[in-house]
């Protein structure tokens, strides 16, 4: 699924990474706990989270993820967006909740295949 489709499906704003909109990813992971991201992410490129701090970006960077979707109307501050830009990570923000966002993306084909548990 392309970032541009994620943007459409979630009515999301793109806060950085406009140039990455046509990049295509096949799996995603959702969590507010960064420890879970570090434990369970394998090759998922998209992170959905309701947590909003700099560690979200650093955690995504550690796991080589390419796109962060902030859910339930979290507004990432400028320093968060700036760090994502530096790290080559696209940032989207949606008003939808975690459950709804994951459900929409999953049912449109963005799965979770790569999880190793």
């Amino acid at each position: 699924m392309k970032i541009s489709e994620i943007k459409e499906l979630l009515s999301a704003d793109v806060l950085c990474g406009e140039e990455m909109l046509e990049e295509d990813f096949c799996s995603a992971f959702g969590s507010d706990m960064m420890s879970d991201v570090l434990a369970f992410v394998n090759d998922q490129a998209v992170l959905l989270t309701g947590l909003c701090n700099l560690q979200v970006v650093r955690t995504a960077n550690m796991m080589d993820m390419r796109c962060i979707v902030f859910v339930r109307a979290k507004k990432p501050t400028d320093d968060i967006v700036e760090l994502a830009k530096e790290s080559g990570i696209a940032v989207l923000a949606t008003d939808k909740t975690m459950y709804v966002s994951c459900g929409i993306l999953y049912s449109n084909g963005l799965r979770n295949e790569a999880v190793n548990n």
Partner: protein
């Protein structure tokens, strides 16, 4: 690359917003010297968990990374409270992190198990009231 390459960082314990910066820098530097991506992932995730632990449990410390041919060693040393029961601390899900740390996205008790899983060797030396040193080795 016969001489070991060394990186050193002071990890600030007073400021959560900078937690993880050292690991991000190590990741960037390992990329620059051409370490394989999979190795970088293992080193940087293990170091990141350990760096976050130093910030949330031990008020900061020192991080050293030594790159040798076929081997990267990460040494995280702090003068925090120490760990009384290391085996218990290694249990998945065990955490003494307070609620405020959980609301920052950490404190699920997965850090030490993750560090062990991502590295080939991990040694914890800890003295209650004096501090903790975690030494991790990744082979490639």
């Amino acid at each position: 690359m016969s001489e070991p390459i060394r990186f050193h960082f002071d990890v600030d314990g007073d400021n959560f917003s900078s937690a993880g910066e050292a690991s991000v820098q190590v990741k960037r530097m390992l990329r620059q010297i051409g370490i394989p991506a999979e190795v970088i992932r293992r080193v940087s995730v293990a170091m990141y968990e350990g760096e976050i632990n130093m910030v949330i449990h031990a008020d900061g410390g020192n991080a050293d990374v030594v790159v040798e041919p076929g081997k990267i060693i990460i040494i995280l040393a702090d003068r925090g409270p120490g760990i009384a029961d290391i085996e218990l601390a290694m249990t998945e899900g065990y955490s003494t992190a307070p609620e405020n740390v959980r609301s920052l996205g950490f404190g699920a008790g997965m850090g030490l198990p993750n560090m062990k899983r991502y590295t080939d060797d991990m040694k914890i030396e800890s003295v209650v009231g004096e501090g903790t040193t975690v030494t991790m080795t990744v082979l490639f």
